[in-house]
């Protein structure tokens, strides 16, 4: 069941993205930024975690999860260290996506040659 809902919810996120591209003529960079900010806002309102419970990877794979995790890390640290934690804790949970992108980006640059 969770596989089905992961598919549907993840697909719906992409449809919203496609509408942003086609109807509002946004370029991908701006659309992605809006998505991340939306994710952060949704988590701020406490709506993103129930969505993850419901849809699993359908909510954790789209880029909105990036914003969600940033807020999560900040809040986790803030609970322990107060207001300073908001600054220091932001990358606490998120590191995986960015570090994986950097590591595999450099490896990819060694492995592959640019085309065209």
């Amino acid at each position: 069941m969770i596989f089905f809902w992961a598919f549907v919810v993840g697909g719906l996120f992409c449809v919203i993205g496609q509408i942003m591209f086609d109807v509002f003529k946004l370029n991908p960079g701006i659309a992605l930024t809006i998505f991340v900010i939306t994710g952060a806002v949704l988590d701020g309102l406490g709506l993103y975690d129930p969505l993850i419970d419901f849809a699993g990877a359908g909510a954790t794979v789209p880029i909105t999860n990036f914003g969600n995790q940033l807020v999560h890390g900040a809040m986790q640290e803030a609970e322990q260290h107060g207001i300073i934690g908001v600054v220091t804790g932001i990358f606490e949970v998120t590191s995986a996506g960015i570090s994986a992108a950097i590591i595999f980006g450099v490896i990819g640059a060694f492995l592959f040659k640019p085309k065209g």
Partner: protein, 159 residues
Amino acid sequence: MANKKKKNLPPAAQRYQEFQKHREIKRPLLKNCVKAFFVGGFICFIGQVISTMYIYFFNFTEQTAGNPTVATLIFITMFLTGFGVYDHIGQFAGAGSTIPVTGFGNSVISAAIEHRSEGLILGVGGNMFKLAGPVIVYGVFSAFVIALIKTILTQWGGL
């Protein structure tokens, strides 16, 4: 803003813009949305399969399985990008391949590969986050603002 810009243009350019607007190919919205839905959904489905595997065969909980899942997806993206497959998927699926983290990974990795010829430090290192940079910058900043508001509300507002 757009109107102001238009008025400042010479009449020939204005006419051209009208003409261009007229001739612009209308994007088939519904078809694109369907494609984006299925490809994006499929990527999330694969993500779910990977994270379920991490939960069943390794010692990860639902919470902790998220990070290795993202890393695995980006690892797969590296090969798809390197062999030029991801470009094709992107052309076909539009937002379906951009919105999942694989799109984020693709933008970083393709920039790294493309700028390899400009040298490792300034080429790869400097251009890697050219496309993904704004996402990180505004993601971090908005997360900071939201977490700040929430912390203030919970700690001092007694909410």
